[in-house]
Amino acid sequence: MAEKGTNLLKKMEISVAEAEKRTGKNAVNMQETYTVYLIETRPVDAPSEGTNPVPDSLWRRYSEFELLRNYLLVTYPFLVVPPLPEKRAEFVWHKLSADNMDPDFVERRRVGLENFLLRVASHPVLSSDKIFYSFLTEENGWKETVFETGFQAKADSRLKALNATFRVKNPDKRFAEMKHYGDELQSVISQLLRVRALRSAAVVQCESLFVLDSEWSAIEKEMGDGLQSAGHHMDAYAASVDDILEEEEHYADQLKEYLFYADALRAVCRKHELTQYELEMAVQDLTSKKQQREELATGTIRTFSLKGMTSKLFGQETPEQREAKLKMLETQIEEGEELFVKSAWVDVERFKEQKDHDLREALISYAIMQISMCKKPLAPDALV
């Protein structure tokens, strides 16, 4: 999964080692219980004595992870930013309650958070981000640092723009395709996650059967041995099914990650659309400004433009100012092209490779698990 040899991971090992419950007062001064996760970092080149150095560590809540991710999203809109594990337990397969305090959920979330950090740390661009680095190393004051970047304001304005409806005149075909792919991926995976295909309920029954048997063998005389061995068999079966359930959960988690990745992908496309739109607007602007310049130069007013009128009414810019503005627009357009599209495309390729690799592995282990599940005779068969 992680590409070894990219920036941050070369230098340090990162892990989310533990989770703990805390209580404290929240923003509205009410008592709340929340979970914190221990992030451990350790330099890769250990001292030559061979003893493992004590890792640096700090505690972070889920909301801080969210803050980090939002920052990354705003700062690198053209990158597919790795997703966080789900906030609330949706798509719950095995448990009936979607309780955030449930130890299993917390454990899976811990794994997901570690995964997130590793993915970011192995990303060629994201891993060198300063805020990310201080997230891992500075417990206090990190939040303030993030807010100081002023990304929130940017985030708000982007959000507004993104939510507005706009139409792009010449949509970039590649991005359109990518968005379409993102849509399909998301739909397919959510369907799979919805299908509650598992035998957990049956397993519970098997376990109760086992209990029955152990009581039963006590009262049967001649069948005693048989019942005992059946009981043992079912015990073994129940244990093995437990393993399978875990594997299924793991598979579900892998699918979920890519479900959220699909989301991130679509977000990139959307942002690109926005940029494209702004680009088009800028080009339009540039064209009309160029036109104006011409008109002014030749003294002919060819088209009646509101802009022209207002600039006449509200004061004219000096030619130098106008030139400067035009130059700025042109560079903006170039940069837009350059930065967004190219980087985005590189990142998308990278994402594709990663996704193919990960999903291939996930699918293979899923298939193996399914087959082995079918091979095991269902416990009651054994009973009879």
């Binding site: 295909a197 309920a201 068999h233 291939r360």
Partner: protein, 405 residues
């Protein structure tokens, strides 16, 4: 998913009115043959059979029992073969019902010919069972499939239901045919051979509903009286049957639930395959693996379908039958208790009356009778006669129960 068939049919020789021959068939088709051996020994009704023995009145029938156990070992000495198949539905103005074809092949002399074929409906089976139970209240009659399914999961005329019922009816008749006493009863013979008209008229004879009522009333009275000195073996048996009944009922319920949930799982698994196939269309590198997974899921679906079917067709009916057997056992034990209570009451009555008879004088009653104008001698005579008669009757009744002392 294949297992070699272990031939255990014959080794389960220690049961009489019990399961072996029939059930071990489907059981042996399953996997995990290591466990099979142990299970083909069905002993639940073994105790019942020794229980039977204690209730046999004559040494002759005990010999029958013995011989039957030997017969169990050599299946080819069976001289009567009964099958139930071919359900058909009949529609009349009043109702719709199903009849089953009952085919009998036999070499027994009491049958007029060697092959018979009749059609019977569920009510007829019920009738037969009732008759056998009446005639032999302390013997175990194999249970019939239930009249209707409580939970309404299954419709009365669904194929599944009819097939399950047919199988259970088939087992029922075979159990009766194998039973030394039941299979030689007149009722059984008529059931197998009579044309429908004959059967109806035969049904009308003999003690009917009212006598059944009488029995129930007596039973309730006896239950209220309670049993004083129940022999230990029956108490043990009672406890065992209670415990067994609980266990097997839970097992039955759990298995039914497993089947239900497996079916739900199957429904959803079926959806998975196509989703993977759909996904493979949007992918390039992953297209191949996805298609393979889709294929794999389809295969798994088929396997699971088979498993579910197997559970449903073989395990469930067996478990359910045992539940009914446990109920039957309980009922038989209850009846036995009632009879014992009855016996005890009558013994008491006998003792009292004997005491009465031996009493020299009953001053008060003599006085009364002289008032009425009878001579004391006459009265004594009358009384003696009356008591004698009563004693005779009670003793006669008691002897019918050949109580092992």
């Amino acid at each position: 998913m294949s297992g070699s068939v272990v031939d255990n049919t014959v080794s389960s020789g220690n049961s009489s009115a019990a399961i072996p021959t029939d059930i071990s068939g489907p059981i042996l088709d399953l996997d995990e043959d290591d466990d099979l051996e142990v299970f083909s020994k069905d002993t639940t009704l073994t105790d019942g059979s020794s229980f039977n023995a204690s209730m046999q009145t004559s040494p002759a029938s005990m010999i029958n029992q013995y011989k039957f156990e030997e017969e169990e070992e050599e299946v080819d000495t069976k001289d009567i073969f009964v099958t139930v198949d071919n359900p058909e539905s009949h529609v009349t103005a009043i109702e719709t019902y199903i009849t089953y074809r009952v085919v009998t092949k036999t070499t027994r002399s009491e049958f007029d010919s060697s092959e018979f074929e009749v059609r019977r409906r569920y009510q007829d089976f019920l009738w037969l069972k009732g008759r056998l139970e009446e005639a032999h209240p302390t013997l175990i009659v194999h249970p019939l499939p239930e009249k209707f399914v409580m939970k309404g999961m299954v419709e009365r005329f669904s194929e599944d239901f009819i097939e399950t019922r047919r199988r259970a009816l088939h087992r029922f008749l075979n159990k009766i045919a194998e039973h030394p006493i039941f299979s030689s009863t007149e009722d059984f013979k008529i059931f197998l051979t009579a044309e429908s008209g004959e059967l109806t008229s035969h049904k009308k004879q003999g003690p009917g509903f009212l006598s059944r009522m009488g029995e129930t009333v007596k039973a309730v009275a006896a239950a209220v009286r309670g049993v004083k000195n129940r022999p230990q073996e029956f108490t043990d048996m009672q406890e065992y049957v209670e415990a067994f009944s609980q266990k097997i009922s839970s097992l039955d319920k759990v298995t039914q639930r497993i089947v239900r949930e497996q079916k739900e799982y199957l429904e959803e698994l079926k959806e998975c395959g196509p989703i993977y196939a759909l996904w493979s269309q949007s992918e390039e590198e992953l297209a191949e693996p996805l298609k393979t997974v889709a294929g794999c899921v389809d295969r798994c679906t088929k396997e699971t379908e088979e498993q579910v079917k197997h559970l449903n067709d073989h395990l469930n009916p067996v478990l359910h039958e045992y539940v009914l057997c446990a109920d039957t056992l309980k009922a038989v034990l209850r009846r036995r208790d009632n009879i014992q209570a009855d016996f005890e009451a009558k013994t008491e009555a006998l003792a009292t009356k004997k005491a009465d008879r031996d009493a020299e004088s009953k001053v008060l009653s003599l006085a009364w009778d002289s008032l009425v104008g009878r001579s004391p001698e006459e009265v004594k005579q009358q009384k003696r006669q009356k008591l004698k008669g009563e004693i005779k009757e009670v003793t006669f009744r008691l002897s019918a129960w050949a109580w092992p002392d």
